[in-house]
Symmetry: C2
C-alpha cells in the first residue's frame, strides 16, 4: 500500500478510535509500556546497529547521543506513558451546553482531530512519546522518523502498534512511513490527513509548510529576544541571559538578540561583554553599540557591524546579537517586526514597563525576568509536548494534549424547523445549562 491508501484507511478508522473509552486507551498505553520493557533486548540490539552505522558514517558525537536508546531513555519513556494515563481525558469534555429553546439542546464537546502526520528527527524516544500522546488524545498517527534510527523506529513501532491493536484499538491507529520519498506523498494527502506536525531544522519545517495544503502546526524559527530595560537588576540580567544563551544553544527557545535600553547601555554593555566573553559567547554589535563599548575602552572589533539584515538571524550556537533601543515600546516594536513570535523576555524591576511589554509583544510566550528556555511543555506542566507552535491559530506555544483535540457541536431536538423561528412562531431563549 502506498501512503495515500494507508491514510485513507486510517481516516476510516479515526472515528472508531475516537469512540474508544478513556479506560481502553489508558489500558493500551499501559500494555505498550509493558511490552517495550519486555522487548528491551531486541530494541537495544536494533539501536546498537543504528548507532554503529551512524558512527561508521562519521556522525558527530553530539548527534549520536540523540540516536542512542539506552536503559535510561527506556525508563524515561515508560515512566512517561504511565504518567500520561494519569492525565485527564482530553476528549469528551463539554465546554458549552445551551438550551436554544425548549427541547432544543446544543452542546460543544471536545473530540480528536483525526489523522495526524508527525515528521520528526532521529530520536527513538520521540517516537514513543508522540505515539502515546496521539493515542491518549484519540488521534490516529502516521509517523516518519529520522532515517538514522530506522531499525530502532521499526521495532519500537511494531511493539507499540501490536500492543495497541491487541488492546482493542483499530488497526489504523498508528502507522509508520519509512522511506524518504514518503514524506512528499504524505504532504499530498490533504483531505485524509488533518494535521501535520513537523519537527527538525528550520529549513525542513519551512519546506513542509510550503509544500502542503494540510494545516501545519510547529515553528520554523526561534528568534528569541531579551530586552534589558532602564531599571533592572544587573546580576539577574546577566544570569538570565547566560542561561538563555548557553544552557542549550541549539534549542529554539535560546536567546539570539539582546536589546538594551539606551539609558542602561553605558553601564550594562561592559558587564554583558565581560560575562559573555567569560562563558565563550561571541557577540555581534550594531555600530552604535560598538561605539559605546569603545568609549568604555572595550574594543569589540565587530566587523562588519550588525545591521537590520541580521536582525532575523537565528544562530543556534554561542553567538549573540546586541542592539540598543529607546524604551519598552521600541523594544516591543522591534520584537514584533523582526522576531519569530516564539518567546521574548523583558528584564526590568519596573512593574509598569513589564505590563506594557507583556501587553504589546505578540509572541506565544512573553516573559519577565526569567530565561526564555522555560518555553517547554514539560516545564509548563503539560505532561509532555508534541512541539512548540508559533502559529496563532489553534494551539500556540508548547503543545500538549489540549492542542491535539478539536470540538464538535451536537444539537438534539424534537423536529424543530428553522422556518418556525424565521416566521416568528417560535423564539430562541438561549439559556446556558453549564
Amino acid at each position: 500500500m502506498n501512503i495515500r491508501e494507508i491514510v485513507r484507511n486510517m481516516k476510516m478508522d479515526a472515528p472508531v478510535l475516537a469512540a474508544t473509552a478513556e479506560a481502553e486507551r489508558n489500558n493500551a498505553l499501559l500494555c505498550a509500556a509493558k511490552d517495550i520493557g519486555d522487548h528491551r533486548e531486541e530494541i537495544f540490539a536494533a539501536n546498537a546497529e543504528d548507532v554503529a552505522e551512524a558512527q561508521k558514517n562519521g556522525v558527530s558525537a553530539q548527534i549520536i547521543k540523540r540516536l542512542k536508546f539506552d536503559e535510561g531513555k527506556m525508563r524515561a519513556v515508560i515512566d512517561g506513558m504511565h504518567q500520561l494515563t494519569e492525565l485527564p481525558d482530553p476528549i469528551g469534555k463539554v465546554s458549552l451546553k445551551r438550551e436554544l429553546d425548549q427541547d432544543l439542546i446544543l452542546e460543544r464537546i471536545s473530540c480528536p482531530i483525526g489523522v495526524i502526520g508527525v515528521i520528526f528527527e532521529a530520536r527513538p524516544d520521540a517516537l514513543v512519546q508522540i505515539s502515546s500522546l496521539c493515542l491518549k488524545s484519540g488521534n490516529c498517527a502516521i509517523l516518519k522518523g529520522g532515517r538514522e534510527t530506522a531499525r530502532t523506529n521499526r521495532i519500537l513501532y511494531e511493539v507499540i502498534h501490536n500492543s495497541f491493536v491487541r488492546s482493542g484499538m483499530p488497526e489504523g491507529c498508528l502507522k509508520l512511513a519509512e522511506t524518504h520519498n514518503e514524506i512528499d506523498e504524505l504532504l499530498d494527502c490533504y483531505g485524509d490527513v488533518d494535521l501535520l506536525i513537523p519537527r527538525g531544522s528550520n529549513a525542513f519545517v519551512r519546506y513542509i509548510m510550503e509544500h502542503t495544503k494540510i494545516p501545519v502546526m510547529g515553528h520554523a524559527d526561534g528568534v528569541c529576544h531579551i530586552y534589558v530595560d532602564r531599571h533592572y537588576d544587573r546580576e539577574l540580567a546577566l544570569s538570565v541571559i547566560r542561561d538563555a544563551k548557553t544552557q542549550y544553544p541549539v534549542a529554539c527557545n535560546s536567546v539570539e538578540m539582546i536589546l538594551v535600553n539606551r539609558e542602561a547601555a553605558p553601564e550594562f554593555l561592559p558587564l554583558l561583554w565581560n560575562a559573555m566573553s567569560s562563558c565563550g559567547v561571541s557577540m555581534r554589535f550594531t555600530e552604535e553599540a560598538a561605539a559605546l563599548l569603545k568609549e568604555k575602552g572595550i574594543d569589540c572589533t565587530t566587523d562588519p557591524f550588525l545591521t537590520e539584515a541580521d536582525f532575523h538571524r537565528e544562530y543556534g550556537e554561542l553567538i549573540l546579537s546586541v542592539c540598543l533601543t529607546e524604551d519598552v515600546r521600541t523594544a516591543a516594536a522591534h520584537i514584533n517586526r523582526y522576531g519569530s513570535h516564539h518567546t521574548d523576555c523583558i528584564i526590568t524591576s519596573d512593574d509598569e514597563a513589564a505590563a506594557v511589554f507583556m501587553q504589546l509583544v505578540d509572541s506565544a510566550g512573553v516573559y519577565r525576568n526569567v530565561s526564555t528556555r522555560f518555553a517547554d511543555g514539560f516545564r509548563y506542566g503539560f505532561g509532555a509536548e508534541v512541539g512548540i507552535s508559533t502559529s496563532k491559530l489553534h494551539a500556540r506555544g508548547p503543545v500538549g494534549l489540549e492542542g491535539l483535540v478539536t470540538y464538535k457541536y451536537l444539537l438534539s431536538g424534537k423536529g424543530q424547523t428553522v422556518n418556525e423561528y424565521a416566521s416568528g412562531t417560535r423564539e430562541f431563549h438561549h439559556r446556558d445549562l453549564l
Copy 2:
C-alpha cells in the same frame, strides 16, 4: 499605498488596538452606530446608485435584494452593534494560572489574532457586522467586499473608520481594499496578515485556500446529509427534511443528500417522494432506490441514476439526492467519506442509534431530529458570526467572537534559570492557582 504597505502598517497598529480597554472598544462601536444613523441620507444615496447600476446590468431580483441597504437593514446593523457592546470582552481572559515553582507564575491569556483579512460578498450589512466583530475582539481588519456595492461599501467604511479613529482606535484598525486585483495582493501578505476569512461561492473560497500561505478560516462546501434511521417519526422526518431543503436552498447548511435505512425505505421513500414533489423539490435516486420506488408503483424516471460520482454534489437549489444504506454505521461512514464535515443529522427515535451517530460522524455539527439549517452563529446564541468553519483546527462550526482570539503565555519570575532545574537544584511543583 499598495496592500502590502497597508497591512504592514496595520501589523504595527495591531498591538496598539489589542491594548485598548474594553470600554474604549465598546465606545467606538456605539459611536460608529450613531454615526451610521446620522449619515443615513448619504448611505442610502450611495446604495441607490449601486442598485441602479446593478439593475442596469441585469442583476437578478434576488441578488438585488442582497445589495439593497434600506431602513430595515440599517436598523438591524445598528441594533447588532449595540448588542455586541453588551457581550463579554473576548480578550484578556485568563484560562490558566499556574505556579510552576515559587515566584514563577505562568498565565495563559486570550488576545486578538492580529490582522484579519475578510473577503465577502456584495452585502453592505456584512461590512458593518464584520468590522464590528473584529473591533470588539481587538483585531485589525482589512475588508474586500463585492464590487456591486462599491459605493455603499466606501461610505459605510469611511463613516465607521472615522468613528473608530475619533474614539481613539489606531488608524490601522480598519482598512478597505477596493479593486479586484487587490485580492491577489492580499493573498501574498503572509507574515503580515494573520488570518483570512473568505465568504462567497465554493469556487471562490477554494481559490483563496489554494492561493495563499495565510491560514484560511471558512468552508468551501456544504454537503449536508440527513440519515433516516430504522425507527423514526414520519411526520418529524418529512418536516425536518422539508425545512432543511426548502427554507433557504442556497445556504451552505441546506441538506443535499438523504440517506435512508434499508428497512425504513419501503415505507419512507414513497412518503418522501410525495412530500418533496408537493413542494417543488426534484429528486435524484440511486438505481437501488429508484427500483424500490418502482415496486411501489412510483416511476421516478431518474435517468441517469445517482452514482458515487454524484455523492459530493452540492446543489444549492431544490434538488435532493437519495441513497439507501444499511444502518447508522454505514450512514456515518458514507457521511465521513463523501460529506464536507459541515452539518449532518440523524432522524431517529432510538437513543442508542443517535448516540452512535453523534459519536461517529466527524462534522462541525452533528444533529438529531432537527433541521440542518440551525447551523448558524445567531441561532447558536453567539450574537453574530463571521462565518462557518469546516476546518478542524482553531474554530469549527459557526464562528463568533471566540473564534477571533488566540492566547499567549505570560511567565513572570525572579531571575530563575533553566539550568537550576536541569541540574536538580530546584524542582517544579506546578500548582494551579485558578
